[in-house]
C-alpha cells in the first residue's frame, strides 16, 4: 500500500475483505501474518494506538451524542496532555463539518440525519483523529443508488484534497473501479490481484478476477505457438502465455464478440433474442448449448430471432 493512495478492496461477499480491514484496524486478530504500517510492525499494537480511522458499514455513530460531539469524540478521548484545547477542538470540528458540507448540523443528533449525512459524519469522526490510514467498510453499502453515486464522487474529491491514505471495502465492481487508485481483488481469503483499475481490467491475473469484474463467456480454444485459435482461426490480439500449448479456455467479454457474415466467423449460431438499452443491444445467440452466448453490440442493425449469424471474436483472455 502506498502513502496517499486510495485502495479499493474488492471481492464477493464472504471473501474476507471486511475481516482484512478489521485486522488492519486491530479489531480482529490474524491467525498468522503481520500488519505493517510504513515498515513498523503493528501486529501486537492495540487498536487505540494504531491511529486508524475506521468508518463502519452501518456508521456506528453514537446515538446519544450530537454530530459535533461524535466528531470530537476521538479528540476528547485523549489523555489530558495530548488533548487539544476546547477552542481548538471546536475549530477542528467546524472545519470537518465544512469539509463534509454539514456546517450548521453540529447540534443535530444522528437520528435526525439521512443515511448519506450519517455516512459523512462517520467519515468526519474518523478523520478528526488525523489517522495514518482511513479504513472504510462498505462505505456506500447501506445507501440507495442516487446517494451512492453522489457520495462516491464526493469521497474521491475529499481524497484528492486531503491526500489521506485510504482503504475501502466494496463488493461493487463499478464502485471500486471508479473510485480507486488501485484495486485489490480478494477471493475466499486470498489476494488475487493488486493493480490500477486499468491493469486489473486489461490484464486480469486470474479467471476469478476476470469473472468478478464483469460478464464473460468461456469458449473452448486451442493454444499453439503463442496464438489462440477457435475453430482453426486465430483470435486477434490474444497472446497465449509462453509454453501454453493445447486446449485452453478462452474468456471473452460480450463486447469482444462481433456479429458478422458466417463465412468469416469463429463460431456460428442462431439469434434467440435481443434487447436494447441505452444505445447498446445485447443479443443472445443459441449455439445448441443450454445457455445462450451473450454478445454486446452498438445499437445499429437489429437482429431478429431465428436469424443465422456468425460470431467473430476480437479479443479475450487466456490463463495458464
Amino acid at each position: 500500500m502506498r502513502a496517499g493512495e486510495l485502495l479499493g478492496l474488492l471481492g464477493p461477499s464472504g471473501s474476507g475483505k471486511t475481516t482484512l480491514l478489521r485486522i488492519i484496524a486491530g479489531l480482529d486478530f490474524p491467525d498468522r501474518g503481520r500488519v505493517l504500517f510504513g515498515g513498523d510492525d503493528a501486529t501486537g499494537l492495540p487498536v487505540q494506538q494504531r491511529a486508524v480511522g475506521f468508518v463502519f458499514q452501518h456508521y456506528a455513530l453514537f446515538k446519544h451524542m450530537s454530530v459535533a460531539d461524535n466528531i470530537a469524540y476521538g479528540l476528547n478521548a485523549r489523555k489530558r496532555s495530548d488533548r487539544p484545547s476546547r477552542t481548538e477542538i471546536r475549530r477542528r470540528v467546524g472545519d470537518l463539518l465544512d469539509l463534509i458540507k454539514l456546517s450548521g448540523f453540529g447540534d443535530r443528533y444522528p437520528s435526525q440525519l439521512s443515511g448519506g449525512q450519517r455516512q459523512r459524519v462517520a467519515l468526519a469522526r474518523a478523520l478528526a483523529v488525523e489517522p495514518r490510514v482511513l479504513l472504510l467498510d462498505e462505505p456506500f453499502g447501506a445507501l440507495d443508488a442516487q446517494v451512492r453515486k453522489d457520495l462516491r464522487r464526493w469521497l474521491r474529491e475529499i481524497h484528492d484534497r486531503t491526500g489521506q491514505t485510504t482503504i475501502f471495502v466494496t463488493h461493487d465492481q463499478d464502485e471500486a473501479l471508479e473510485l480507486s487508485d488501485r484495486v485489490a481483488v480478494l477471493d475466499r481469503g486470498r489476494l488475487e490481484q493488486v493493480g490500477t483499475p486499468d491493469e486489473v481490467q486489461d490484464n486480469p491475473a486470474s479467471a476469478t478476477v476476470l469473472k468478478f469484474l464483469g460478464d464473460a463467456v468461456e469458449i473452448e480454444a486451442i493454444a499453439e505457438g503463442g496464438q489462440v485459435r477457435v475453430d482453426g482461426r486465430p483470435v486477434p490480439s490474444v497472446v497465449a502465455p509462453e509454453g501454453l500449448i493445447g486446449p485452453v479456455k478462452l474468456y471473452v467479454r460480450p463486447w469482444q464478440i462481433q456479429l458478422t457474415e458466417p463465412a468469416a466467423a469463429h463460431l456460428h449460431g442462431t439469434v434467440r433474442a435481443s434487447h436494447r438499452s441505452q444505445g447498446r443491444q445485447r443479443i443472445e445467440v443459441d449455439r445448441g448449448e443450454s445457455r445462450p452466448l451473450l454478445v454486446e453490440d452498438f445499437d445499429g442493425e437489429r437482429y431478429a430471432a431465428g436469424r443465422e449469424v456468425g460470431l467473430r471474436i476480437v479479443g479475450g483472455y487466456v490463463f495458464a
Binding site: 486491530g26 490474524p30 510492525d41 501486529t43 501486537g44 499494537l45 492495540p46 487498536v47
Partner: protein, 284 residues
C-alpha cells in the same frame, strides 16, 4: 515491542473489547454464592432423605392434599388467565379505544404490587362482607377461605404472564396474511381459526405454563384470602412455612424439592414448546 500473538487455546472468541475476564468472573462468583450454593443446600438436604423419604412426605395426607390444591387450582387459574389474557392482549394490540394505554399499564399491576398487599386487598374484597364477596354470596358462591379464593388470587398473579407473552406476537401478525386469506375467499372465522390463531398457540402455551408455575409457588397473595384450612384451602408453600416453624427442616426440604421438580418440568415444557415453535414458525 510487539511480538506475534501467541497462539493459545481460547475459551471465548477473541475480541478487542476489554473486561471479559473480570465481568465473567464476577458474574460466576455472584451466581454461585447467591443462587447455586443455596440451591445446592436444598438438593443436599433432599438427597439426605432419599427418594423414598421424599415420597413418604408426599404421601402424608395433609401434604398430599396441599400439593393437590396447589397444583389443581393453579391449573384452573392458569387456564382462566390464559383465556382472558388472550382476549385482553388481542383487544390491547388490535383495537384503538380511549384509555387503551392506561388499561395496558394496568395489566402489570400484579408485577408491581407486593404480594402481601394484593393478598389483603383480595381478601377484604372477596370476603363475605366485602364488595364483591357479598355479591358472590348472594348467588351462593363463597370465595374467601375456600379454594375459590385461592383461584382468584392465582388468576390475579398469573394474568400478566398470560397477556405479556401473547401480546408481542399478536402485534407481529402480518396484516397481509389476513388480507391474503380474505382475498382467497375465507370467512373471518376461517381466517382466525386457520391463519391467525395457529402461530399464536406456542405463546399461549408458554404464557399458560408461566402462569401455572407462578401460581404453584405463590404465597403472599394467597394466604390471606385462602383461610388456610388444612385439607381444604391449605397450599403447599404455606405448608413449607409451617414445617419450618416446627423446625421440621427435612419435611420442608422435601416439599420444596417436589415443588422445584414440578417447576423444573414446567420450565422444560416451556423450552420444548419454544423449540418446537422455532422449528415450526421460525420464532418464539
Amino acid at each position: 515491542m510487539s511480538e506475534p500473538r501467541k497462539p493459545r487455546r481460547q475459551f471465548r472468541r477473541p475480541s478487542v473489547l476489554p473486561g471479559f475476564g473480570i465481568t465473567f468472573g464476577y458474574t460466576l462468583t455472584c451466581l454461585s454464592l447467591v443462587v447455586l450454593l443455596p440451591l445446592a443446600a436444598l438438593v443436599w438436604r433432599a438427597s439426605g432423605l432419599g427418594l423414598s423419604g421424599i415420597l413418604d412426605v408426599a404421601r402424608d395426607p395433609r401434604v398430599a392434599s396441599a400439593l393437590r390444591i396447589s397444583f389443581g387450582v393453579s391449573l384452573l387459574a392458569a387456564l382462566t388467565a390464559s383465556i382472558f389474557g388472550f382476549v385482553v392482549a388481542w383487544v390491547l394490540t388490535r383495537y384503538r379505544f380511549p384509555g387503551r394505554r392506561i388499561v395496558d399499564a394496568t395489566v402489570d399491576l400484579p408485577f408491581a404490587l407486593p404480594t402481601a398487599v394484593a393478598g389483603i386487598a383480595l381478601a377484604s374484597l372477596y370476603a363475605p362482607t366485602g364488595l364483591v364477596g357479598a355479591q358472590l354470596e348472594r348467588i351462593g358462591i363463597q370465595a374467601a377461605y375456600t379454594p375459590v379464593g385461592i383461584f382468584i388470587a392465582m388468576v390475579f398473579i398469573g394474568l400478566p404472564f398470560a397477556v405479556r407473552t401473547v401480546q408481542p406476537l399478536i402485534a407481529e401478525i402480518d396484516k397481509e396474511v389476513e388480507e391474503a386469506s380474505a382475498t382467497l375467499g375465507a370467512s373471518r372465522r376461517a381466517t382466525l381459526v386457520k391463519v391467525v390463531l395457529p402461530p399464536l398457540i406456542p405463546a399461549v402455551l408458554t404464557g399458560f405454563a408461566l402462569a401455572f408455575a407462578r401460581g404453584v409457588g405463590e404465597y403472599g397473595s394467597i394466604i390471606f384470602i385462602a383461610g388456610n384450612l388444612p385439607y381444604v384451602s391449605e397450599i403447599a408453600p404455606l405448608l413449607i412455612v409451617i414445617k419450618l416453624s416446627e423446625y421440621d427442616y427435612a419435611g420442608a426440604a422435601a416439599i420444596a424439592t417436589i415443588m422445584l421438580g414440578i417447576s423444573f418440568l414446567t420450565l422444560l415444557a416451556i423450552n420444548l414448546i419454544q423449540a418446537w415453535s422455532r422449528r415450526r414458525f421460525g420464532y418464539v
